[in-house]
Symmetry: C2
Subunit: 135 residues, 2 copies
């Protein structure tokens, strides 16, 4: 496996409405998309900086993964996603290396990507995602 770049950084926030102006007006980035991902119980806002996207995540349900994360740890950095080629093989290879994977096979993510998560217990506390562009 050889990731090509950081595809995105996921950040948990309490309110997109409050956080977006910081990224736009202070950091000078442009929010190019706001999207609700119902099955993940989040609303997302995307910005681009170089090769990497910043994905702000607001929980739509306190029992969802972002709601629970914020309750436990507060707002902040949530996950890191690598762009890879051949995601299916990457997930298998990672599992064969003894790493606990959340997704044994690719599933659909935001922005039409195929994605898979590794478990933070196996990755030194970092919720790690692999992403592949849909072919």
């Amino acid at each position: 496996m050889k990731p090509t770049h950081i595809e995105h950084i996921g950040i948990a926030v309490k309110s997109l409405e409050q956080a977006i102006p910081f990224y736009e007006n202070v950091l000078g980035l442009k929010c190019y998309s706001v999207e609700e991902v119902k099955e993940q119980k989040v609303k997302t806002a995307f910005f681009k900086v170089g090769q990497t996207k910043i994905e702000l995540l607001e929980s739509t349900d306190p029992e969802g993964p972002i709601g629970k994360f914020i309750e436990k740890k507060g707002e902040g950095l949530h996950h890191m996603a690598f762009a890879v080629e051949n995601l299916e093989e990457c997930l298998k290879e990672t599992e064969n290396n003894g790493v606990r994977v959340i997704d044994k096979t690719p599933r659909d993510g935001a922005e039409g990507l195929k994605i898979g998560f590794l478990h933070p217990k196996s990755t030194f506390g970092v919720l790690t995602e692999f992403c592949e562009k849909n072919k």
Copy 2:
């Protein structure tokens, strides 16, 4: 201000010795530098993926910033650094926008960069750094 890319992502780990093999053998990245930064009470290990570096941070003192972070939140994502041009102006502009900055003026960071941090209380929980290449 217009950051050009994510310069690096800082990750707090308990042990470089344990974490480096995950990044090298599982993710396929290469550790190109291990450095002790005494004033920050850390040992760092650097990897490159696309435009971005991954900086693993091991505390050398439980009272240092990474030691305290791990005690409070556990291992995991610690900070996010944007590459900027004209760091001094960026820090002033950010402060003028009402954001609490940790460094009012640039200081020396790892790898010969000029750096400045913003306070996570002002940045929705994300310890945010600006970096500029030394001219």
